[in-house]
């Protein structure tokens, strides 16, 4: 190869390799709690939200949000739906789950308002959207939960992690207050708190 070509070709190859790596890295498939355990925790934690019965009414509606073109997101949402189904009550109420596709934080906020959803669950794939979701849901009356622990420091109210081989609850307390979620002190004692 001619010498004057070597440098630009090398640079181009480096950029292409970097972009390919970035594309490979982007979506994630991290170790999570067994989905049935996560569903049971989710159902149980809602009973510790003092405002949940008022917010939910007679039937607790839960939105399971999926990210378009993200197989992992769809997988977790679908598994969560199956895992919640046999649980008779969540937050002490009968419940129904609705799968929705994420189109934007503002649209999601409108959908929550329109549907009267009491809780929203996010699977993987929302790392880039959590900040926007937090902003859009401020002042709304809804509990947000995510299967990815990294969501919580950025504004999802409730998260689940595995530490020392056991489940760990993560709670964003500031955002909880902004979304009218009032978690009991006995739950907060068991959770890792972010503010």
């Amino acid at each position: 190869m001619r010498r004057w070509l070597v440098r630009p070709v090398t640079s181009l190859a480096t950029v292409v390799a970097f972009l390919m790596l970035a594309a490979l890295v982007r979506a994630d498939s991290r170790l999570m709690l067994p989905i049935q355990l996560e569903a049971q925790l989710f159902a149980k934690v809602l009973t510790y939200d003092k405002n949940f019965p008022v917010r939910a009414g007679r039937t607790a509606r839960v939105l399971l949000v999926t990210k378009r073109d993200n197989a992992d997101s769809a997988r977790v949402a679908s598994q969560m739906q199956s895992a919640l189904k046999p649980i008779e009550q969540i937050g002490g109420l009968p419940h129904e789950e609705v799968m929705v596709t994420f189109t934007g934080a503002v649209q999601l906020a409108e959908l929550i308002k329109a549907s009267g959803a009491a809780a929203v669950f996010f699977g993987p794939g929302f790392d880039d959207d959590v900040e926007a979701i937090r902003g859009a849901l401020e002042g709304q009356d809804v509990l947000t939960a995510g299967s990815v622990p990294e969501y919580v420091p950025h504004g999802i109210v409730l998260g689940f992690d595995i530490v020392s081989g056991s489940p760990k609850l993560l709670v964003h307390l500031t955002q909880a207050k902004r979304q009218n979620v009032a978690l009991r002190a006995e739950l907060l004692r068991l959770a890792r708190i972010f503010e």
Binding site: A22, D28, S29, L33, K44, V45, E150, D161, S164, G165
Partner: protein
């Protein structure tokens, strides 16, 4: 009429049974849907090792024991073998003052260097192929603060992992950056015996919009002592010495045929180590590097076999470097894919000095034996998973693993003073070959209370016929908080390169091909959860066969070897051996355990007990296993005062009497048995007042018995009036003090 009379009661029983079954099934189904209280849910143990997926210990297809970082801290533990001894159910360790040995369910094979327990670090297999060795003491090379938890899966585990998983699988899972962020510094000392200093760094952030986590730790451990007093054993004769024909156990000093004295210079170890774990989006990278140098203050059947006494230049050093890169992705909502590439390099050098002429046979003051071994392997594992209905209730896992292994080894005999070789290298190993495997696992949960797990793995190694390792397991969530489980599993251990390839003329022959060791096991267990408590009871039975051992030729056989030209006549009086598939083990027993905490989470407790009978069987002989206890267990309590006040922990492990390793072939009187052992460890830890981030940990350890189950010294067999076996001493009392400092958490 008669026919009816016979049939009716049977029909009635059948109807009654059917009715009960329907009621029971209904009850199971209803109970399975009830959500336990929050404390119970948060106390669930999640394991990933048994079926390569996250699942609760109750549904895992094997009996699983999980040891957490909190418990390791709370009870003043420093190493994996200590965690197994003080916390696990079914596992135990045996300290030989050199490199602890691990056993399970009443089976321990002394001198196996850990080859019958598969050890994983973050899923990466550690056992090297030259000796099958895996260090689980200080020599592991993982700073203990980096350990998030340890999973011990009891019973055969080759179905997903291949060779070595005969006793079980130990998976050491390290911490993630998000739960160990900041800079962490630790300094610790076992007063007057050892010190350890380490630093670790953890972070969690985003790079290119993908989550990034990293934990990296470095540490150095140095131990010197304690001094033990051995013997005196002797006088021992040496026919090759001039009058008075007594054996020499030191380069200098009187030649009096006496072995023993104070071993003040030869009980030490040095372990610099580092570990890096990095997660970036779909990629995970783990890198480990360590060196482990150690010396034992005695000689025995397996360690320093013919060495001089208290010579600090008798030592062994291991160097390890390994890397593992994993890529995980979800291809569709139903299908996931994992690709892994890995590579390891381990080398081991062992130096033994001996001045006894009978052993050396060269006209030099001291012979120095230098044994060197190197093994390297690299490979790739591809794994796919298919969730048939995308609800986790029917998942197929399929994988292939291919690696290329390479081993070298040799043994040289040198003149200690000049370094000049005294003979050609022996035990020369220069071997390489591929190892291939494929595995399949199917899980199914047809009902909320019923789960199945079945699978098999096929391993190909050119040294023997392909091996199939199946496993089938079922678990039934029988009532609220109660799980019944039954498992059948098989496992194998491929002979090591040393066993198949080492040849020492006139000493270690190599005339028979070796088959892999096999074990099959059946077990049943019951787990009951109530609140934050977990009660487990299980029974097991296992059958081992084709165990590889050194076969020592009889005098008649040696004469025959001389006649055939396989043995030089000048060695006909010395020991001559070869590795063969010799023995079987019949093993059965029970495990029981209870662990939990109070509702506030401040008071922790646990206890485990195992009773096991294990007998070594060879044609015409059936004897209990040596070194392994028939009853053993542990217990612990801890209370966390919180609010800046300390946590107090008290842990104990105990074992019944243990038959010494040379008991059956040493002809000793009295029959050598180590007494029952009870080891207690009290720990206090907490934050240092007024200095944020600084914390302390003090512990004191006391062992009731002063002897362990290894015969030490030159008298390894009853000899010329020396009929007593000297058992290995125990380091009975240790006090440990440590400080740790966390910054930027």
């Amino acid at each position: 009429m008669r026919l009816f009379a016979r049939v009716r009661p049977a029909t009635r029983w059948l109807r009654a049974a059917a009715g009960l079954t329907v009621v029971a099934l209904g009850a199971f189904d209803a109970r399975a849907d009830e959500v336990p209280d929050l404390g119970a849910l948060l106390s669930e143990k999640v394991v990933t090792t048994a079926s390569k997926t996250a699942e609760t210990s109750g549904t895992a297809p094997a009996m699983a024991s999980l040891m957490t970082a909190e418990d390791i801290q709370r009870y003043g533990l420093h190493t994996i073998d200590e965690a197994v001894a003080f916390l696990s159910m079914g596992g135990f360790s045996s300290d030989n003052l050199y490199n602890p040995e691990i056993g399970a369910r009443g089976v321990l094979l002394p001198g196996d260097q850990g080859a019958h327990m598969l050890v994983l670090i973050d899923g990466h297999a550690v056992n090297e192929p030259l000796h099958g060795a895996a260090n689980l003491g200080r020599g592991l090379g993982i700073p203990i603060e980096l350990v998030d938890h340890i999973e011990l899966i009891l019973g055969p585990g080759s179905v997903l992992y291949g060779s070595n998983a005969m006793l079980g699988v130990i998976n050491i899972v390290t911490k993630r950056g998000r739960s160990y962020s900041g800079v962490h510094v630790v300094a610790e000392t076992e007063v007057a015996k050892s010190y350890r200093a380490g630093a670790a760094f953890g972070t969690s952030t985003k790079i290119l919009n993908a989550p990034f986590q990293m934990v990296m730790g470095l540490e150095i451990f140095k131990q010197d002592g304690p001094t033990f007093t051995f013997g005196p054993q002797g006088p021992i004769q040496d026919l090759f010495e001039p009058a008075p024909m007594l054996m020499r156990f030191n380069r200098s000093g009187p030649v009096n045929g006496i072995w023993g004295g104070d071993a003040s210079r030869s009980h030490y170890s040095l372990v610099p180590a580092g570990y890096l774990s990095l997660e970036w989006g779909k990629f995970t990278l783990n890198v480990r590097a360590s060196t482990f140098k150690r010396a034992a203050p005695y000689s025995s059947q397996y360690i320093n076999v013919i060495s001089d006494f208290d010579d600090p230049k008798n030592y062994q050093i291991d160097r390890v470097f390994s890397g593992d890169l994993t890529y995980r992705t979800q291809l569709t909502t139903h299908a996931g894919f994992t690709a892994r590439v890995y590579g390891d390099s381990t080398d081991r050098r062992t130096y033994t000095d001996y001045s006894r002429r009978l052993a050396c046979r060269f006209p030099v003051a001291t012979c120095r034996e230098a044994d060197e071994g190197l093994s390297r392997w690299a490979g790739s594992e591809l794994q796919g998973s298919l969730d048939w209905w995308n609800n986790g209730r029917a998942v197929t896992l399929i994988g292939v693993d291919g690696r290329y292994r390479y081993a070298q080894g040799r043994s040289d005999l040198l003149d200690y003073d000049t370094g000049r070789p005294l003979r050609s290298s022996t035990a020369v190993i220069d071997s390489s070959h591929p190892v291939l495997a494929a595995y399949l696992q199917q899980t199914a949960q047809p009902l909320t209370w019923l789960a199945f797990n079945g699978g098999a793995r096929l391993d190909y190694d050119p040294r023997f016929d392909p091996v199939v390792s199946p496993r089938v397991a079922t678990s039934i969530n029988a009532w609220q908080g109660g799980t019944l489980k039954a498992t059948y599993a098989e496992a194998f251990r491929a002979p090591t390169f040393f066993e198949t390839d080492a040849y020492i003329p006139n000493a270690l022959l190599m005339r028979h091909p070796l088959a892999p060791e096999r074990v099959r096991s059946i077990e049943g267990s019951m787990e009951q959860k109530f609140g934050r408590n977990r009660l487990v009871f299980g029974v097991f039975r296992s059958w081992w066969k084709d165990l590889v051992e050194k076969y020592v030729f009889s005098q008649a056989e040696k004469d025959d070897l001389v006649a055939r030209g396989d043995l030089a006549i000048s060695y006909v009086l010395g020991p001559v051996a070869e590795y063969r598939n010799i023995s079987s083990i019949d093993n059965f027993g029970f495990n029981g355990g209870w662990e939990g905490m109070t509702g506030s989470g401040r008071f922790h407790y646990g206890a485990n007990v195992t009773g096991a009978i294990a007998r070594r069987v060879v044609p015409g002989s059936d004897k209990p296993l040596v070194v392994a206890p028939q009853i053993f267990g542990n217990a612990r309590v801890a209370y966390d005062f919180e609010h800046g006040l300390p946590t107090l922990g008290l842990a104990a492990h105990f074992s019944g009497s243990r038959i010494a390793d040379r008991a059956f072939d040493g002809n000793f009187t009295p029959f050598p048995v180590a007494p029952p052992q009870l080891e207690l460890r009290a720990t206090v830890l907490g934050p240092v007042p007024l200095i944020k981030g600084l914390s302390y940990r003090f512990s004191a350890n006391y062992a009731m018995a002063d002897r362990g189950p290894y015969v030490v010294g030159v008298v390894q067999q009853s000899y010329a009036g020396l009929t007593n076996a000297e058992l290995i001493p125990v380091d009975r009392f240790r006090v440990t003090a440590g400080l740790s400092y966390a910054l930027f958490e």
